[in-house]
C-alpha cells in the first residue's frame, strides 16, 4: 500500500466518528498547548532577566567577598590609573534589610548604603529631588533616596521629597526618588532604599573589621568601554596584592555576562521543568489515543478480516493503524501549537501575584512539541496496531 493510500484510508476512518476523534484530539491539543504556554512563560522570564541585567549597564563587574572581607579602602584602591587603567569608576555597597515607615505606613525593603558614583555606575536616574552627594557620605547624613516602588508604597501619588521617614526606627529625610527600572517576578530594583554608605554602615548595620575599617558587601566596578576582561584581571590583581593572597582568592569578580549566564542556566532549567510538567499531560493524551485505538481495533475486527482475505499482510494492517494513531497525534499537535500560541499571547502582560508575566514563543518550542506528540502517537499506536495485525483472518471474519 502506498503512503498516500494509507493516509487516505486513515483519514476516512478517523473522520467516521467525529465526536470520538475530537475528544481524542483534545487530549493531545491540551498537552501540546500546555507545553508551549508554560515553556513560553519560562523563556519570557529568561529574556526578562537578561534584559533587566543588561539595563544596569553592559560594562559592569561585581566584586564580592568570598570567606573574607572587602573594605571601603579596597573599593577605592581599584580606581588606580597605573595598576587598573581599564577601571573607570567603582560604587561600593553595604546592604541590610529593614522596615521603612512613614507615619502608619510600613514596608520592608532592602536598604543599601552607597556612594554618589552608584547612580552613574548602575545607570540610575533621579526622577525627582537629588541623589546622595559626597558631603552626605562624609557627614554620615540621615538622608534617603527611594526606589520608585517604595515611594509609591509609602506615599502613593504624593511627592515624598523633604518628608521624614524612619528606617529601622532611625529618622531619615527623603531627598530623592529614582526612576523606575521595571521589575519582574525575580526581584525588584525599584523597591530599594538608598542611603549614604557611611550612614548605613555606622547607623544601620554596625559591623566593623578588626582594624576598624568599613566593610562593604559588594563593589560595582565600571569598566572602560569594552575592556571588561582586562578590568576583571586588573581588579583581581589589585585585590590579591592588598589581601596578600597566596593560594585561593578570598573574593570573586563576576562579569555582567557571567551573571547572565548563571541566571540563564537556572531559568533554562526552570523552562525545561515547566515543559516536562506539561509533558505529563501529553502522555495522558497519548494514553487516550491508545484507548481509542484499542476500541477501534475491536470495532473493526471484521474490516480487518476482510482486508486480510483480500490480501493485506500483517504489516499492511500494522501500518494502517499506526498511521491512524500518528495522524491523530500530529493533528492534535498542530491544533495544540495553534492553541499554545494563542494562550501564550493572551498570557503576555497578564499580572500574576503582583508581577507581570512575559511570554516568548519561538519555533523550536513548537517543533519540539510536534515531534514529541508524533512520537507519542507512534509509541501508543503500536500496541493496538500490533493486536490488529495479529488477528487470525478467519476469526476476524466471523466476528460480529
Amino acid at each position: 500500500m502506498t503512503l498516500f493510500a494509507l493516509i487516505g484510508t486513515a483519514l476516512s476512518s478517523i473522520g467516521g466518528n467525529r465526536l470520538r476523534t475530537g475528544l481524542t484530539l483534545l487530549g493531545i491539543i491540551i498537552g501540546v498547548a500546555a507545553v508551549i504556554a508554560l515553556m513560553s512563560i519560562g523563556r519570557g522570564a529568561q529574556e526578562e532577566i537578561t534584559s533587566r541585567i543588561e539595563s544596569l549597564g553592559s560594562n559592569l563587574l561585581y566584586v564580592r567577598p568570598l570567606d573574607g572581607e572587602l573594605t571601603l579602602d579596597d573599593a577605592l584602591a581599584l580606581v588606580d590609573p597605573v595598576f587598573a587603567p581599564s577601571i573607570v569608576s567603582v560604587a561600593p555597597e553595604v546592604s541590610t534589610g529593614g522596615s521603612v515607615t512613614y507615619r502608619t505606613t510600613e514596608t520592608f525593603s532592602q536598604v543599601a548604603g552607597v556612594t554618589p558614583e552608584f547612580a552613574d555606575v548602575r545607570n540610575f536616574e533621579v526622577a525627582s529631588g537629588e541623589f546622595i552627594s559626597a558631603a552626605h557620605v562624609t557627614n554620615r547624613k540621615n538622608v534617603a533616596v527611594l526606589g520608585s516602588q517604595t515611594a509609591e508604597d509609602l506615599f502613593g501619588e504624593r511627592g515624598p521629597v523633604g518628608v521624614d521617614i524612619a528606617v529601622s526606627g532611625i529618622p531619615f529625610t527623603v531627598i530623592g526618588v529614582l526612576e523606575s527600572k521595571g521589575g519582574t517576578a525575580f526581584g525588584n530594583e525599584d523597591s530599594r532604599v538608598l542611603v549614604p554608605l557611611t550612614t548605613a554602615f555606622f547607623r544601620l548595620s554596625g559591623q566593623r573589621t578588626a582594624e576598624g575599617a568599613i566593610t562593604v558587601d559588594l563593589i560595582n566596578v565600571q569598566a572602560d568601554g569594552e575592556r571588561i576582561d582586562e578590568a576583571q584581571q586588573e581588579a583581581a590583581t589589585v585585590l590579591r596584592l592588598r589581601h596578600e593572597v597566596t593560594d585561593a582568592d578570598d573574593f570573586r569578580v563576576d562579569t555582567q555576562q557571567s551573571v547572565i549566564d548563571t541566571l540563564s542556566e537556572a531559568t533554562g532549567t526552570l523552562t525545561l521543568f515547566l515543559g516536562a510538567v506539561a509533558g505529563v499531560s501529553l502522555v495522558v493524551g497519548g494514553i487516550g489515543i491508545m484507548n481509542i485505538m484499542l476500541v477501534s481495533v475491536t470495532e473493526r475486527t471484521r474490516e480487518i478480516g476482510i482486508r486480510k482475505a483480500l490480501g493485506a499482510k500483517r504489516r499492511d494492517i500494522l501500518a494502517q493503524f499506526v498511521t491512524e494513531a500518528v495522524l491523530l497525534s500530529i493533528g492534535g499537535g498542530l491544533l495544540g501549537v495553534g492553541a499554545g500560541v494563542v494562550t501564550s499571547r493572551v498570557l503576555d502582560g497578564f499580572t500574576l501575584a503582583g508581577s507581570e508575566l512575559t511570554t516568548v514563543f519561538s519555533g523550536d518550542i513548537a517543533a519540539l512539541a510536534l515531534v514529541v506528540s508524533a512520537a507519542i502517537g507512534l509509541f501508543f499506536g503500536i500496541y493496538p496496531a500490533a493486536r490488529a495485525a495479529q488477528l487470525h483472518p478467519i476469526e476476524a471474519l466471523r466476528h460480529e
Partner: protein, 240 residues
C-alpha cells in the same frame, strides 16, 4: 499444466483445550482450470474448513496443497497474503463489504494490496461486468442484497484470480436474487473460463454447477459430474 488446486491427504485438527477435534480426515481432490464445482455437506462436515485452507486463510495440520503447482501448506503470513491477493477471489454469504466505502471503493480495495495499475478503470470494468456500472457511487447499505453480492463478485473478479471461492453465495438471498448470482457465476465460468468452487448445502444451487463433491465427517463421500446442469433464470438488466 498443473491443476488449479491439488490437495492430497489433507488433515486439519483443532485443539479445544485438551481435546483434539479432527475436522478433515484425509481429503484428496483436484480442481482443473475452467471447472465449476460445488462442495456439499451438512454442517460440521468440514466443508468450510476445506474452503478456508484452499483460500489460504488457514493452514492444514498435515497433507499437501498445491495451488497452481506451488506447495502452499507451509507458507508464512506474507506469502499466504500475497496468494490471497493474486490467486483467490472470495465471495461470502454475508457479502463482507465495508459499509463506509462506495461500491467502487470496495472493489478497488482488492487491488490496494497488490497490483494497483489502472485500479479505478479495472474496478469500474468489474462492476460493469456484474451489471452495476451505473451504481458505483452507492454505498452497500443503499444497495439490495443481490446487488451487494454482485459488488462482492466484482471485488473477487477484479484481480483475475486463479479460482473464485464462493461460500454459500446465495445463502442470504431471495430466489430471484439467487438466480441472478448463479447466472453471473455461470456466465463467468462459461464465457471467461473462470474456475469456480462454491460451498453450499442446497442441492438446488449445487445442480447449477458441473460437478458435486460431497463431504461428510471430514471425508469425501461422493464426487459426481452433473449430467445436465440447471441454467439460472436471467433477471432483467443483468448481463449474461
Amino acid at each position: 499444466m498443473a491443476s488449479v488446486i491439488q490437495v492430497t491427504d489433507l488433515r486439519k485438527t483443532y485443539r479445544l483445550g485438551a481435546l483434539d477435534v479432527p475436522v478433515l480426515n484425509g481429503v484428496s481432490l483436484a480442481v482443473e482450470r475452467g471447472e465449476m464445482v460445488s462442495i456439499m455437506g451438512p454442517s460440521g462436515s468440514g466443508k468450510s474448513t476445506l474452503m478456508n485452507i484452499i483460500g489460504c486463510l488457514d493452514a492444514p495440520t498435515s497433507g499437501s496443497y498445491l495451488l497452481e503447482g506451488e506447495e502452499v501448506s507451509r507458507w508464512g503470513d506474507a506469502r499466504l497474503a500475497a496468494a490471497r491477493n493474486q490467486k483467490i477471489g472470495f465471495v461470502f454469504q454475508t457479502y463482507n463489504l465495508l459499509p463506509r466505502l462506495s461500491a467502487l471503493a470496495n472493489v478497488e480495495l482488492a487491488l490496494q494490496y497488490g497490483d494497483r495499475r489502472n485500479a479505478r478503470a479495472r474496478s469500474l470494468q468489474a462492476l460493469e461486468s456484474v451489471g452495476l456500472g451505473h451504481r458505483y457511487k452507492h454505498r452497500p447499505l443503499e444497495l439490495s442484497g443481490g446487488e451487494q453480492q454482485r459488488v462482492a463478485i466484482a471485488r473477487a473478479l477484479v484481480k483475475t484470480p486463479a479460482i473464485m471461492l464462493a461460500d454459500e453465495p446465495t445463502g442470504a438471498l431471495d430466489t430471484r436474487s439467487s438466480a441472478e448470482i448463479m447466472a453471473i457465476l455461470q456466465r463467468l465460468n462459461r464465457d471467461e473460463g473462470l474456475t469456480v468452487a462454491l460451498v453450499t448445502h442446497e442441492a438446488d444451487v449445487a445442480r447449477h454447477t458441473r460437478r458435486i463433491i460431497s463431504l461428510r465427517d471430514g471425508l469425501i463421500v461422493g464426487d459426481e459430474p452433473v449430467a445436465e446442469p440447471l441454467q439460472a433464470q436471467l433477471a432483467e438488466g443483468v448481463p449474461a
